[in-house]
Symmetry: C2
Subunit: 229 residues, 2 copies
Amino acid sequence: MAERLSKAVAAAERQPAPRRTRNKPEERHREFVRKAIELFAEVGFEAGTRELAQRLGVTQPLLYRYFPSKDDLITAVYREIYVNRWKTQWRDGLLDETQPIRDRIIAFYEDYTRTIFTPEWLRIYLFAGLRGVDINHRYAATVEAEVLRPITLATRKSFGLGDGPPAAEEIELFWTLQGGIFYYGVREIVYRFPMAVDRSTMIRNAVDAFLEGVGSVLRRLAESPETAD
Amino acid sequence: MAERLSKAVAAAERQPAPRRTRNKPEERHREFVRKAIELFAEVGFEAGTRELAQRLGVTQPLLYRYFPSKDDLITAVYREIYVNRWKTQWRDGLLDETQPIRDRIIAFYEDYTRTIFTPEWLRIYLFAGLRGVDINHRYAATVEAEVLRPITLATRKSFGLGDGPPAAEEIELFWTLQGGIFYYGVREIVYRFPMAVDRSTMIRNAVDAFLEGVGSVLRRLAESPETAD
DNA sequence: ATGTTAATTTATCAACTGATAATTAATATG
DNA sequence: CATATTAATTATCAGTTGATAAATTAACAT
């Protein structure tokens, strides 16, 4: 399978040295990362540096002038996707009390899924998780601090409940909603299931059912003593 | 001179071939698959056949007496995990009307997560999904037919709603619950997050909130004409 | 033009990959 | 005990991998 491909590649590379024109280092750097994201999303991190070079129309050793090792390239990929694409306005929108809680949560998930429901975001996130890097830990901590805590507090408030720091059990409850929506994306983008319900409808129904039912559980948790610590 | 000596020493020290005793082919086959599951769960499918052979205390070419190719070994691994570990009693339990719907659903997720919340099950499932094999499609079809449809129908009934075939939107609603619980396992087992809430509590809260709120959405869907098709 | 600098290429390494052929030895069978 | 069978080994191949050193050449300053 890979043999035939490599043979074709070898034939193509035997060309009389296309001798690419030079580029500014910064542009190159960004270009490398961009194409690396594309490739890693398709194949995973085992993708060869030669394959990447070929897609860039460049020789393989050149990559090592810009990244000391393949791992450093991978790190740059992480930064680009999971740090640079985070929007601080998500938190702000969730805390904007001029809007009803339902609208705020739905608007957040509409925009959030627009950001992360791409092969690049989701596939590389799962690849990273399986690899055991700490990206996922750091990202989840951000989600909890910037999204789930605000959602929990805002929801509590909308039910007329106290506004102390959210208990672990409360946060976990909203993780279930987050996970349910996230996994819709995994099914659609990663597993490539034919989805019978469109994204917006799914979000609306999930949030409606959740908000309708979460009140009773939150009330119970507010009354019972904190068991989890 | 020194080289010749070291070469002689190396030859002498080259273990006198531990020469494993023979085993029955069937046992070997099962043993290979078992250890392959272990290895693939750890490293992924790029795990080397030599590493596997070493863990089995066996030479690498021997693997090819039992599996024509590495891909055939991987297929055997899939079968073992995702076909052989499926319990038909899950469906039966969900349809057992002598029990309240809440108890049925909680009991199901308790047992189901006991089966799939292992590194082997979850990691290999994600590896397979990223690889683009059809395992995940087939498995999801089973989940939908054997779990989500029964849950949907049973829940509908418990709310005194009609009992026609479930609409896609209804099924999708229960996929959100399924995905939320599934993703708890991914966070715990794959990402290795320190979980602040134990599995049973998470399941109970998630199911309670869901059942409390799902009624209103189901009623709305029952009244409005089928938009999704 | 001329020389300097650095971007890019060529050539190459050692380690590792899945897979095959030939050989050895343990077991069952007569 | 002799012999056939086959489980398991050794040896090896061809291809791929990440990475390094040295040679080349494009761009730019003078």
